[in-house]
Structures are given as structure tokens and as C-alpha cells.
């Protein structure tokens, strides 16, 4: 009888408080993740400060500057009138890049250029982790304050995907601190393998190009200037190279890392058309514009990888995939161009730990 009453009582309680119990369970799970994210964020800040002290030999403690940097933000341009929005975004991104360079220069005056580039990337990873932490904390505290299940559910539902991204960013700390190539470096590695020690020259900001002969064709290969962490300005490089050739370019091949779908193998190579380049879209726009204005067909080679590989130290499968991608690029050149043609190949991605 007592048990029956208890059972009925529990049922009635659950009937009225089920949502609250669910909200509390979800909040508890978010809280556990938030602690993990906080430890990642703190570790990233410590790593950045250590690296600045080690390479930059600053006179004063860089901690306040690093903490200020971690709250840096960028306001995207207004897109109600889309005309010229790419140029506006490009300008803002240039200012951001310049600001980051200046900040790092002040924080680490003794660091070499590649070290400064790596520190800049390291600080960007810390900034991203700080942003993730703050946004998740915002929803957690708001959910805790209001006990509104819909506020809590919003963050709870996307938490596994966010954790995946956060773990990827935290893996980047080791890579940028020690100058280790990352998953995104596959494009520059393919380009460097094609250049194969040929002399290079600067073709745009932080972009170099080398010329090789392949089966009677002239192949101009461009990549970001390494080995410091940089993606360069591939759009500008391609624009300048096409201009130099007076538009007489038979084909433009871009090689880049691409997100793999679940079930696909890491290091799978796929060929396609279009400009293989990520980012905010400014460089892609420049590339497409230069290609369309000069009637240059765009071909792409993608090296598939998971989100956890993109900024983490390069894994063996991806290193091996770069050889396959080189063969793929050569195959495309042979299939779609003739002897005497000029071809541009661009290795897109971060060139950390990759020379030319």
C-alpha cells in the first residue's frame, strides 16, 4: 500500500516536473562540457604566453596583452546593399590582419618572421577557444537563470558538434607552437612537391610562385610563403599571375583540404571543378573573377579530412595523400591541356611547417 502510494506520488511529481528535471539534467551535461572547454581555453592562453616569452623575449609580461587580444572581435560589413560587400569585407580583413601583426610584433619583438606568423596563428586559436567558451557559458548561465528548457536545449543540441570544433582548435596549439604542419597544410605541401626546389619569387603578399616544366607545358605553382603559419593571399597571387601571362592561361588548378563526410576515408582524393578554397570568400571571389574575366577554366583537387584533422598536427594518411594529389594534378594537366600551354596550380591552405 505504502509502495503503491509512493509510486503514484512519484508519477504525479514526474507529470508536473518532468521538464524541469530534463532541464536540470541538460544543464548538468552542459556544465561538464563547459568545465572541459574552460580548461582548453586556459591551456591555450598559457601556451600562447609561454610561446611569446620563449620566442619573443619581451621586456614586460605579455599576459595583459594576450588577455586583451583574446577578446578581439571583427564586425562584418553591412550586407543590406550587397554591391561591393566583398571589397568591404576584404578591407576589414586586411585591417584585422594588420592589427594582429602589429600586436604580435609588440608582444614578441625578438621573434623571427616565421615565429611571428606561428604566434599569430596560436593567438587566433586561443581567441577562437575563448569565444566558444564565452558563448556556451552565456547560454548555460541564461538557461540556469531562466530555467527555460528552450534556451537550454539550443546549446545542448549543438554541443557535440561544438566540442568537436573546440577539440580541433585545442589540437592546433601544439602545431602552431612548434611549427608543425597541420591538416590544412596539404595544399601547400602538394605545391611545394611540384615546385621541387625550383627558384621561387614573391607574387603577392605572403605568396610565392615557382615555375616548372612538365610534359612540354609551363606550370606556374603558387603557395603561401612558408614555413611560418600563413595562408597568404592566393586570390591576389592568381590575379597577378594571370595578368602577367596576359590572360593566356590554359587552366587553373586549386588544391585544398576538404571536409570529409562520415564514412569517407581520411586522405581520399577527389577531383572537381571550381575554386577549392575556404575562408570568408574574399580570396575565392578574386580567384573566380580573374578566371572568368580571362576565360580560364577552374579545376580543383580536394584532399578529404575530418574536422579534427584540419588544424591538428598532420597525420600519416594525409602526408601520404599529398603524393596522390600530386599525381592527380599531373593527370588533370595531361588530360586537359596541350604541349606549350601555361597552367597555374595553387596550393591553398596554411603553410605552417612547410617550406618551398
Amino acid at each position: 500500500m505504502i509502495l503503491q502510494t509512493l509510486f503514484s506520488f512519484a508519477f504525479i511529481i514526474y507529470l508536473f516536473y518532468a521538464q524541469r528535471i530534463q532541464a536540470m539534467t541538460m544543464l548538468r551535461q552542459i556544465e561538464t562540457s563547459l568545465r572541459k572547454i574552460k580548461s582548453y581555453r586556459d591551456k591555450s592562453r598559457e601556451t600562447a604566453i609561454e610561446a611569446i616569452k620563449e620566442y619573443g623575449k619581451p621586456e614586460k609580461d605579455p599576459t595583459p596583452q594576450v588577455e586583451r587580444f583574446m577578446d578581439h572581435f571583427m564586425i562584418p560589413p553591412v550586407d543590406m546593399d550587397p554591391s561591393g560587400v566583398v571589397q568591404k569585407l576584404g578591407k576589414i580583413l586586411n585591417v584585422r590582419e594588420h592589427t594582429f601583426q602589429q600586436e604580435v610584433e609588440q608582444m614578441a619583438p625578438e621573434a623571427t618572421v616565421p615565429q611571428r606568423n606561428n604566434l599569430e596563428n596560436l593567438l587566433e586559436a586561443s581567441l577562437a577557444l575563448n569565444m566558444f567558451y564565452k558563448v556556451i557559458r552565456h547560454y548555460y548561465l541564461m538557461g540556469k537563470k531562466t530555467m527555460n528548457i528552450y534556451v537550454i536545449m539550443q546549446i545542448h543540441m549543438i554541443l557535440p558538434m561544438l566540442i568537436q570544433q573546440i577539440e580541433a582548435y585545442s589540437a592546433a596549439l601544439q602545431a602552431f607552437k612548434d611549427g608543425i604542419p597541420i591538416g590544412d597544410s596539404v595544399g601547400p605541401i602538394v605545391a611545394a612537391k611540384l615546385i621541387n626546389g625550383a627558384p621561387t619569387r614573391e607574387v603577392a603578399k605572403e605568396m610565392v610562385a615557382g615555375e616548372i616544366k612538365f610534359e612540354g607545358r609551363r606550370v606556374i605553382v603558387t603557395k603561401a610563403f612558408g614555413p611560418g603559419g600563413s595562408v597568404g593571399k592566393p586570390g591576389d597571387a592568381i590575379q597577378n599571375l594571370i595578368e602577367e601571362e596576359n590572360g593566356k592561361v590554359r587552366m587553373l588548378i586549386t588544391v585544398d583540404a576538404a571536409g570529409k563526410l562520415e564514412g569517407e576515408d581520411v586522405g581520399e582524393i577527389a577531383e572537381g571543378v571550381g575554386a577549392a578554397i575556404g575562408g570568408p570568400g574574399v580570396e575565392k571571389y578574386k580567384m573566380e573573377k580573374a578566371a572568368i574575366d580571362n576565360d580560364v577554366p577552374l579545376y580543383a583537387v580536394a584532399i578529404k579530412q575530418g574536422m579534427e584533422h584540419v588544424v591538428a598536427p598532420l597525420v600519416e594518411e594525409l602526408m601520404e595523400a599529398t603524393d596522390k594529389a600530386v599525381s592527380s594534378v599531373k593527370g588533370l594537366i595531361l588530360d586537359y591541356s596541350d604541349e606549350g600551354d601555361t597552367i597555374i596550380v595553387a596550393g591553398i591552405g596554411n603553410t605552417v611547417g612547410v617550406g618551398q
Binding site: 577578446d71 600519416e316 617550406g355
Partner: protein, 140 residues
């Protein structure tokens, strides 16, 4: 910049206190479940199948709930968790005699860097690969 305090992520019912409440609840549920099972088997012995079934159901549900709580509960990290570092190796190759050498990654290594002199011939070894060592425990 304002340092983010630990209290931002304070547990809902206040850290250790919450653990005691959870433990207390589990003990109460366990006791009820045990008593219920006892009653269930006694009723079964008296041939009251319907009542026995209800008691046993409550008892089993109680133990399932406790088991589920244990399964879901994550141990509180005593040490600070953080991102794990992977072991990175550098592969050097001599372009003249094809001698290959693999060593741990050193700061300053980069792919296509002319590094140390070759131990077999007069040439210089070039870094051809830098990659994370495969974790043998990790499945693809």
C-alpha cells in the same frame, strides 16, 4: 580584462553537497527497491501474481534507475584536463644516396628544409615528411 571566475560554472546544487544528495537519493531508492523485491517474492509465494508482479516491477525499476545513475555519472577530474599532445616525427632523406632517417620533431624543422649532413655520403639530408605518429590504440 576581467578574469573569469570558477563560480561561473558552479554546479547547480553546489559541488560536493550535490554528490551527497545524489548518494542519499540512491540509498533511499535502493532500500525501497529491495523492500519492494522482498514483498514481490513474498506475494508470489502467497500466489498473488498480480501484486507480486507490481512489486517486482517497482524493485527492478529502482535498481535500473540506480544502475543508470552510476553509468551516467562521470568521475570528477582530480587533475586539470587539457588537450593532449601527439608525438610528431620528422623523416629526413638524402637525395644522393637515398638514406632515410626518422627522428622526433624538433622546433625549427619544416618540410623541404636542408637539415643535417648525411652520415653515409657527402650530401645533405632534406626533411621530406613531418607527421604525427599513428596511435596504435586508435581505430580508423
Amino acid at each position: 580584462m576581467k578574469r573569469m571566475a570558477d563560480s561561473d560554472t558552479a554546479p547547480l546544487a553546489g559541488g560536493a553537497r550535490q554528490n551527497w544528495i545524489s548518494l542519499g537519493l540512491m540509498v533511499v531508492v535502493g532500500a525501497i527497491a529491495l523492500a519492494s523485491l522482498y514483498m514481490g517474492f513474498r506475494e508470489y509465494g502467497d500466489n498473488n501474481i498480480e501484486t507480486a508482479f507490481m512489486y517486482i516491477l517497482i524493485g527492478v525499476s529502482g535498481f535500473i534507475a540506480i544502475g543508470f545513475s552510476f553509468f551516467r555519472a562521470k568521475p570528477v577530474a582530480k587533475t586539470k584536463t587539457g588537450p593532449k599532445e601527439v608525438e610528431v616525427v620528422t623523416t629526413l632523406e638524402c637525395p644522393q644516396c637515398n638514406l632515410k632517417r626518422v627522428r622526433s620533431h624538433q622546433v625549427g624543422d619544416y618540410i623541404f628544409k636542408m637539415d643535417e649532413p648525411c652520415t653515409r655520403c657527402e650530401g645533405h639530408m632534406t626533411i621530406t615528411r613531418i607527421n604525427a605518429r599513428k596511435d596504435p590504440k586508435k581505430k580508423d
